[in-house]
Amino acid sequence: MSALETQLLCKNFGALSVANKIDFRLEPGARHALIGPNGAGKTTFINLITGRLTPSSGIIKLAGEDVTALSQSGRVKRGLGRTFQINTLFRGLSVLENVFLTVCEREGIGNSILRRANARKDLLEESYALLESLHIGDDALNIVRELPYGKLRLVELAIALALKPKVLLLDEPAAGLPSSETAIVFDTVQQLPKDIAILIIEHDMDLVFRLANRITVLVQGTVLVEGTPDEIQHDARVREVYLGEGDHG
């Protein structure tokens, strides 16, 4: 059974088709890359999976369960986590609190009003440990708004990991990062437990080929081809529409 599966997934904005009959499977433990030229519909595809967008037609399954009609939070509860291409953080709160809020939601105590949030030392410690592992422990009490961009990308990743997802969607996690921080991101991703299924959108082909054991190429909302990195590298169509565009832009 696939960790994540879409069947004939379609999304139209008026006459514009941004997702066209996408059949996709993400196997348990996969390191799966989604690549394609700008405007291919990669982020739209992620938004459909997470429920931020409602598909025009088609089915989305998580671990075999049809979640097409579920809310975003319902899908998160079933083990779906994501990062955003554009940082989507609680900008006025501290780094620690960004992660802590997430951990509280994961533990299902977000509705509780009976005790102080900060009394949950265990959850705070866990949040802090996660920050340490991403080398941003020293910034725990700093306000997100005041941090440099590179660290924000790491906070973005920390929030997704704090959910302890079974399926993790990474939308260009290293976009705009200097190489030192790119390394942190990819070391972290590589050290994640093997049973987490990861779908990653990335433009840097070196990283894609280093990390992924499967690759799907999306062009104009349609799956062009799917295969192992080796197959993709030698696929004539891919070279034509994607790699043929010139050196990585």
Binding site: G110, I113, E125
Partner: protein
Amino acid sequence: MIFKWFNAEQGSAVERFAKRDRLNPLELLPWILAIAAYYVFPSYLPLGSQILLTILFAISLDLALGYAGIITLGHAAFFGVGAYSAGLYALHVTGEPLSGLVVAAIAAGILGLLSGLVILRTTGLTLIMLTLAVLLIVQEFANRARPITGGADGLNGIAMLPIFGVFRFDLFGHTAYWYCLSVLFVMWIFGLLLVRSPFGRSLTGVRENITRMHSIGAPVRRRLVTIYTISAAMAGVAGALLAQTSQFVGLATLGFERSGEIVIMLVLGGIGRIYGAIVGVVIFMIAQDSFARANPAFWSFWVGLLLVLIVLFARGGALGIADNLVALLRGRKK
């Protein structure tokens, strides 16, 4: 002593963070001042009661606007509904005050729940418009349903029984002051518990980034409706206090001015921190009482100017300015 406090942040990050929302002795200061005010300014007790119940109203608004980021210009709807239901309850059922508060909280809470379910699906200007629309509908109803509400004449002849059957409301407002202070104290504790709980924290998350809140699995709509309902009920209690202590309910309780002014007072003090409500209301109402009497025509000019200046230069309000001063002092000590 006071400097030790400013430098209280020691220990690991987690320990420092965990300490942050413990009750700070400074938080008892407003209560000491409120009790002192009773003895120092005995002739100002009616104004004092007004200030206390307005603080409660402002705290209720802070929960919705300051913490959850729901921009509303219609919060007087809940204040007014609370006032009218408390007034009607006293007129037609019993003049017992505490049950009147409960009735007002329930009535305003129901309106908050129903309207919240409907309007909190929207955001931005549409949401502002809809909060206004709810207020206008309630207002129009109160104005037109003369047989029930007395229309423009309001509800007269409200007679209150003694609190617990012991403490009579007197002409000089002694009982009313203690009554308002006690109710405010209880509500303040409730408010503090609320905003420091995981639920309250999640509201801050909604305010800071609703998209992210969805993506970490929080049921955002339900949280918003919940806090809106709680906030409405609390505003209803504030309205009920006005009805019970002034023994009159008029259309002004539902006025747009009341809605607008309470937002201004809250912003003046600083939003999203509970104490902004206290500071803002006290400054505003004392200033209003003294300046507005001297030159009422120009009062609104100063309020407007102040608002513009706050937006342009001091977004955190009075407490925000105080924060900056404290930070400055600390910086100098290092």
